[in-house]
Amino acid sequence: MKIYEYQAKEVFAENGIETPSGQLALSVKEAVEKAEELDYKVALKSQVHVGGRGKAGGIKFASTKEEVEKMAEDLFNMKIKGEEVNRLLIEEQQEIKEEYYLGLTLNRSKKTDTLIFSRSGGMDIEEVAAETPEKVVKVDIDPVLGLQNFHLTPVAKAFDFDKEMSKKVAPIVKKLYEIYKNSDCLLVEINPLALLTDGSVKALDGKLEMDDNARYRQPKLLTMWDEEKEEEMELIGRQAGFVVIKLSGNVSIISNGAGLAISTLDSLQRHGINAANILDLSGGATSEKVQKAVDVVLQDSDVKSILFNIFGGITRCDEIAAGVSASLKKVPADISIVCRLQGTNREEGIKILKEAGLEAASDLEEVVEKVVKTLKGGE
């Protein structure tokens, strides 16, 4: 999960990383009020989850009340990459001398933590890395050892820091590392980290990406999570206890494992058919759970067909079949159901389906072909 810039800055500030003074505004009126405290010399920054906000015109600089009013109005009427702007961060303007990038994330190849710096602050780090790799320094950190002073030598070197500057930046790196670990982040970024003309070093923009698995131990960060920004079907699924992935076709794939679901998606695509969504039942689903899953996917108005692909290990095919059978009356006539059952208690499952008037395929290709026929037949 991602949080907004103003929330990331709250986390920074609580952990002792300096940020510009600023406040959130939810309306033009509020924007003007907050700007007044800063004598109207402010940056108005739209708060959205998508990237490329700056280029899209989502950040404006004002110096009078009138400008603030006009700019806030413009921003609140904007959409950035399809995302509505509902929140503005009204922030004191900064006099910038140098801009850097500082981030921490996983080295996916070595599976250790990695500290990333660049002298090209304020730019997209992936673009910088692709175009001018020499401007990006990466330092792997043994997660058992944790961040040590020696890890900071390459930072100072890459930035040509003198001792004074090293002394300013070292604690920021350490605090960012603590946020990364203690707040269960998949990614933390300060971009740009700026040296200002007054000699101070501040985080002018920031990004935190939280680990969904660690929600239970991050109650505070959980409050920062903006459910409105979540894909509706995925939210419905999560609230019902499933991982649902919303896609752009019209078949709903219900499966007892992510791999099997992805593979079903691949097969459908080879036949030119796209999925509306994927729902993972995980292992050991009961009949009730299956019914709940059907309820979920029926809320997706794109769905024209539901494809069950089950290879039972812990999952029992009879439970699945019982769930499907019990759901039938809820499924509108224009939505077809096709099933594939394999593995544990397959025979029992097939029997239950037959009683409900359904057939069960035994392999993946067979069930996919059935869906194809159903959908193309219905056109």
């Binding site: 058992v144 269960d184 969904d212 698995n213 998606l265 290990g313 593995g343």
Partner: protein, 290 residues
């Protein structure tokens, strides 16, 4: 022969007094696995399926000379349980839990590495050496003793692939589920050398998926070091960029990094045949089996 697990491997079950732990301890015993005990703190007065229950892994290890542990422990307690098993000196630790926090696994993975422990998982059905032993919860009836080694990021796809093999009359030496998380214990390139050294394994099947760089690194390893033929399958060619496809690790980065096409290209460059469909795997394997 087989890798990691054979019939003598002494196994304990962490969380044995729990519903899942107890259920699968029984199934493992029935499969013939050498399960010698279990661990649940505070429950050492109990027995489960006739097996002794210990309060700590250390006590279990000292009493039973344990080699391996399988954890039926909820995600939020998994870090402590994994570290306990590694600290107690066990050689093999399998953790099946789904949803272990990222940083917990980053730490556990490296701690296991440093202690010379083969950590398998999380989010895995475990490992099975058909006809010998089972350290996991897979439905064992579909497996058959034989000479195909298999490594899979996805549980269900490994069932699918194994079933295709077995119904084609082809058995397996060892099937290892490495799990679908972005950070896990052993991965393809840690297991390939073990299969290379196993005289029983005649061909290795890698079941990969989108996301990460594990398949690419495995490809490099195969190209440089493997004589045993390797076959691969990659799920997720239809996955859109930027979506986590169920498995936390299954995501194509914006820009296409980690895509199925890219992986297939790298695998083929390393001389690895990539099966288009799971049902193609038996025929590809047959070419290499006596």
């Amino acid at each position: 022969m087989s890798i990691i697990l054979d019939k003598d491997t002494k196994i304990i079950v962490q969380g044995i007094t729990g519903r899942e732990g107890s259920f699968h301890a029984d199934l493992m015993l029935k499969y013939g696995a050498n399960v010698v005990g279990g661990v649940t703190p505070g429950k050492s007065d109990q027995k489960v399926h006739g097996l002794p229950v210990f309060d700590t892994v250390k006590e279990a290890a000292e009493a039973t000379d344990t080699d391996a542990s399988i954890l039926f422990v909820p995600p939020r307690f998994s870090r402590d349980a994994i570290l306990e098993a590694v600290d107690a000196g066990l050689e093999i630790v399998v953790t099946v839990a789904e949803g272990i926090p990222f940083h917990d696994m980053v730490y556990c993975r490296e701690y296991a590495n440093k202690n010379g422990c083969t950590l398998i998982g999380p989010n895995t059905p475990g490992i099975i050496s058909p006809g010998k032993s089972k350290l996991g919860f897979m439905a064992d009836s579909i497996y058959k003793e034989g000479s195909v080694g298999m490594i899979s990021r996805s549980a269900t796809l490994s069932y699918e692939a194994v079933n295709n093999l077995t119904t084609s009359g082809i058995g397996q030496s060892t099937v290892v589920g490495i799990g679908g998380d972005p950070v896990q214990g052993v991965t393809f390139k840690d297991l390939l050398p073990m299969f290379e050294e196993d005289p029983e394994t005649e061909v290795v099947v890698m079941i990969g998926e989108i996301g990460g760089t594990d398949e690419e690194e495995a490809a490099l390893y195969v190209k440089k070091h493997m004589k045993t033929p390797v076959i691969a399958f990659i799920a997720g060619e239809a996955a859109p960029e930027g979506k986590r496809m169920g498995h936390a690790g299954a995501i194509v980065s914006p820009g296409g990094e980690g895509s199925a096409d890219y992986k297939k290209e790298k695998l083929e460059e390393a001389g690895i045949e990539v099966a288009r469909k799971l049902t193609d795997i038996p025929a590809l394997c047959k070419k290499y089996i006596d």
